[in-house]
């Protein structure tokens, strides 16, 4: 019963791994991955010499670390607040609203963003004009996106994250809180001394999983929101969008393969390091 899935993963996951040799080849479609001639580190050379490597690596890591931290903080805070709410009806409605963005694609989100922010008809600019202020051209000003992208990330995922943490909070033994009440602890003390420490295992696992995605962060989001907008490129280009563009727009297979290889190696290093650190700190919480 394991055969179907084994075959699938061999074909779609393991076979392409052999294709990493492409990174060291002068690839042409006719000769294929294994028939094309070798060219050593030439593919890497351009990537590193052009300065692209630094820009995309920095963007990828910075954005994703910011995303992960904000996501964790917001999810936990929202979960704690939700756990305080007693009114069933209110809880149901708000949770539904918070969870809703999880269900739509980034394609739809990009329509939302256009709706709110485009220069001529966007709701933000309509408001600004009503107050007699100047409209802002968000689609060609890169620093807005440093704020906007993390905001959208949190907007889309916080409902999901808060459910994860809420499940962990609900699992906490009520007697601990009762004992704390008897000892005279107030609400704030219960949250900081009981809830948050007991959420730690969940936090560690989720952050560890999140770290695994730091190098492969949110291609969907970046591509749908920014696409090929040249004026935002330096501020928003990540490894995945660079690979995608070299593959689809410029058909530069060698470049795409070498950058992809670089990314895979970095991912592996990050995960192994993080896992190792967690392991040293507490064996039970490590992924493997």
């Amino acid at each position: 019963m394991f055969i179907p899935i084994a075959v699938y993963f061999l074909i779609f996951a393991y076979a392409p791994m052999a294709g990493v040799v492409m990174a060291f080849k002068d690839f042409n479609y006719r000769d294929g991955i294994f028939g094309s001639p070798w060219n050593g580190f030439q593919n890497f050379e351009y990537f590193f010499v052009s300065g692209k490597a630094w820009i995309v690596t920095r963007n990828t890591i910075l954005y994703n670390v910011v995303f992960l931290s904000l996501y964790t903080v917001f999810s936990i805070v929202t979960a704690i607040l939700l756990s305080e709410i007693q009114k069933k009806f209110f809880k149901r409605i708000t949770q539904t609203f918070l969870f809703l963005p999880y269900f739509i694609s980034w394609v739809t989100v990009s329509a939302f963003v256009y709706n709110f922010l485009n220069y001529e008809y966007g709701i933000v600019n309509v408001l600004l004009r009503q107050f007699g202020l100047d409209a802002v051209d968000i689609y060609s000003t890169s620093w807005y996106w440093f704020l906007l992208l993390p905001f959208l990330y949190v907007w889309k995922w916080v409902g999901y994250g808060s459910i994860l943490y809420l499940a962990a909070i609900v699992g906490i033994d009520q007697e601990i809180y009762e004992a704390a009440t008897i000892d005279g602890a107030n609400r704030w003390q219960k949250i900081t001394r009981i809830t948050i420490p007991l959420l730690k295992p969940t936090m560690i696992i989720l952050i560890l999983l999140g770290l695994g995605r730091v190098m492969r962060g949110e291609f969907d989001m970046f591509y749908q929101l920014i696409g090929n907008n040249g004026s935002l490129m330096d501020a928003t280009d990540i490894i995945d969008t660079l690979v995608f563009r070299s593959l689809v727009n410029t058909q530069d297979f060698g470049m795409a393969a070498s950058v992809g290889f670089y990314q895979s190696i970095l991912t592996l290093i990050i995960i192994l390091t993080a896992n190792h650190l967690v392991r040293r700190y507490d064996k039970d919480h490590a992924l493997f």
Binding site: Y8, A13, P16, G19, F90, S105, A111, Y121
Partner: protein
């Protein structure tokens, strides 16, 4: 429960209600603006911009889309086919794998689990993957590629395994075996029915992934009749002259462009928004199963 009531601190509760209320309004607002915009008249939007309720209520954008519905209906058909087929097959194969990983008798089950898990740690990168699919497997422009690529999620398989472990004790399987049931009979008559709650939630997650997938189509499909809804939406949002078929009729002067985009978004997202209240609890269950421990 009583202790909890005694416990409430009014100030904190007010704070919690207010903040949660505001957050949920922020997450909900874009949906309102989208729907309001799609029911606005084009000229009003061009004059005054989008707003939280329709400006000059009108069905023009929808009427425009459904004047020549062939393209939209074809995209709907593709999306529905890949979602249904992919979810059913993916779920069955995932559960079979999860069942193997759960059975203690399987000697190498940890190695097998790692065989799956490793693919999330390391991969060949997009370029070799692309070449593999197009050149060696010749899957470009097939329905198969749309169904196969989003089919599995290793995390889901591991979640299914923990669910089976938690809800079906090994002795139950042993006794069925003693009674003469074969592996397949045990799987289909015991494991599958007993895993229904997990199947429902993981199935919904898989279905959602299929419904929202635009990437596979963008990479591997360029035939009009194979384009799923989300990719069609992407193409329409990103191109000024809309898609090829629409462009033929675009000579019409009263062609709504701005509101058209929003109406298209509503049409592509609509089914999810309509189903959402009914299936939400299964999603929450799925998230929770995963949270208990993967």
């Amino acid at each position: 429960m009583n202790a909890k009531k005694l416990n409430t601190s009014p100030l904190f509760s007010v704070l919690a209600y207010t903040i949660v209320g505001i957050l949920s309004l922020i997450t909900f607002a874009p949906f309102i603006v989208l729907i309001a915009g799609s029911f606005s008249s084009e000229s009003a939007v061009l004059r005054e911009g989008y707003w939280f309720w329709p400006r000059d209520f009108s069905f023009d954008a929808y009427a425009f889309i459904f004047r020549y519905p062939a393209e939209v209906l074809s995209a709907y058909r593709v999306s529905i086919i890949i979602t249904v087929v992919g979810t059913v097959v993916g779920l069955l194969v995932s559960t079979m794998a999860a069942y193997v990983l759960y059975r203690k008798e399987v000697k190498y089950r940890n190695a097998l689990a790692f065989f799956l898990f490793f693919t999330t740690l390391f991969n060949g990168g997009l370029a070799p993957f692309y070449i593999m699919i197009t050149k060696y497997l010749e899957l470009k422009n097939t329905l198969g590629v749309l169904i196969l690529l989003p089919m599995f999620n290793v995390m889901f398989i591991l979640i299914l395994r923990s669910f089976i472990r938690g809800s079906i004790p090994e002795p139950l399987i042993e006794s069925a075996k003693i009674d003469g049931a074969g592996e397949y009979r045990i799987f289909f008559q015991m494991v599958l029915p007993l895993s229904k709650p997990a199947l429902a939630s993981i199935g919904l997650f898989t279905a959602l992934a299929y419904w929202n997938d635009w990437w596979t189509a963008m990479m591997f499909v360029d035939k009009d009749h194979l384009i799923p809804l989300q990719y069609m939406l992407y193409k329409m949002l990103s191109s000024v002259n809309m898609s090829s078929a629409m462009a033929q009729y675009a000579g019409a002067i009263d062609q709504p462009k701005e509101t058209f985009k929003l109406a298209m978004t509503v049409i592509a997202t609509g089914p999810i928004l309509l189903l959402f209240p009914f299936v939400q609890k299964y999603f929450v269950k799925g998230v929770t199963i995963g949270a208990v421990k993967g």
